[in-house]
Amino acid sequence: MPVEILEPGLASSIQDRGRPGYYNVGIPPSGAADLRAAAAANLLVGNPLDAAVIESPYMGPVLRFDEPTVVAVTGADMPVMLNGEPAPQWESFAVAAGDQLTFGFLRAGARIYIAVAGGFDVPVVLGSRSTYALGGFGGFQGRNLKKGDVVPVGRPSGGVPGQVVPETLRPVYSRDVELRVVLGLYDYRLTDAGRSCLLESEWTLTPVADRTGFRYSGPVLEWEERVQPFGAGSDPSNIVDAGYPVGSIQVPGGVEPIILHRDAVSGGGYAMVASVISADLNLVAQCSPGTRTRFVAVTLDEALRARADSADRELKLRQALGAAT
């Protein structure tokens, strides 16, 4: 059963849990920018967690279903309409053959996730159905969705309407966000004033915010002076090339910090002053331009506890939706 893309939205793509294990050869993990919302959408329609969904930033697509099935929309707060009538979010619902799914204006958050029972059945590339559009592979023909695309759907393994994510397990989106970071590896390149400035300033997300990275405006950070080592560029924010973790924050020229996200380049020559902890990357994905942001330093132990809490929330979600654990 295929789904037809009548309008693609702005940059809709097919994503699953991602493609870990190839970052060392320059291929990023990709996968849903907000993995938790994507997981919820899949569980609502009876899919395994690694089924592929549509991710749409800022603007929803228009979809037409050729056969009856079960659908769920999670993530950003955005009105959902089935044939022009309001449909729920965070709740599975039935669609009939010929039904059209449309969306209103984004109200909060940034990215919606649309799951269909059976999952979007695009070819598996290097272990994942996720689109890596910059590399031109994965997902639907290695690119974002276009008007007129007909995306195949796999055979459903279940999926009933009326499954609901409990309120307590739904996110609440704000225009004021705190992101937990672990400082390093190169924060020693900042002066004390530069480090304080990073952690004590309010940063505003610019419109340059996509699956590759999120760029923030704010004050200028001050770097320690040094004679640049061989192989590093001349700017004080340059280092000898190193691997970039997903979530790492680089500050080219000391202005406009960039948080790398799941489609990031794997390495380069900018000092990473901190990394957003893995548990907060989903939150980054739900920030839209203008979001006021503070970076809060935590220890590695705190980051690992947050990761465990995040896994625990996913377990609760699976239990709430009756998924086999």
Partner: protein, 81 residues
């Protein structure tokens, strides 16, 4: 007579003109049709055209050039007709 407020479909930076050295897409008094481009919204390095969505005359422009706007924010008002 009725009014139509053109809303931004996206969050991003609003531009009243196609390029810094070009004339604005529309001004107060401009006569537009539904498919007239009235501005651009930039997000994720993409520029999305905002269409008037109704025909008539522009009576007010709400969004300032290069300001950050949100989805649903009013960009300008058109007196339909």
């Amino acid at each position: 007579m009725s009014e139509h407020v053109v809303q931004s479909p996206l969050p991003g930076v609003f531009y009243t003109r196609p390029a810094p050295d070009k004339e604005p897409f529309v001004e107060v008094g401009s006569v537009v049709s539904a498919d007239t481009t009235v501005g651009l919204v930039e997000v994720m390095k993409q520029f999305a055209e905002v269409k008037a969505g109704a025909s008539g005359t522009v009576t007010r422009i709400h969004a300032e050039n290069e300001s950050i706007i949100g989805p649903g924010d009013g960009i300008l008002t058109i007196e339909k007709g």
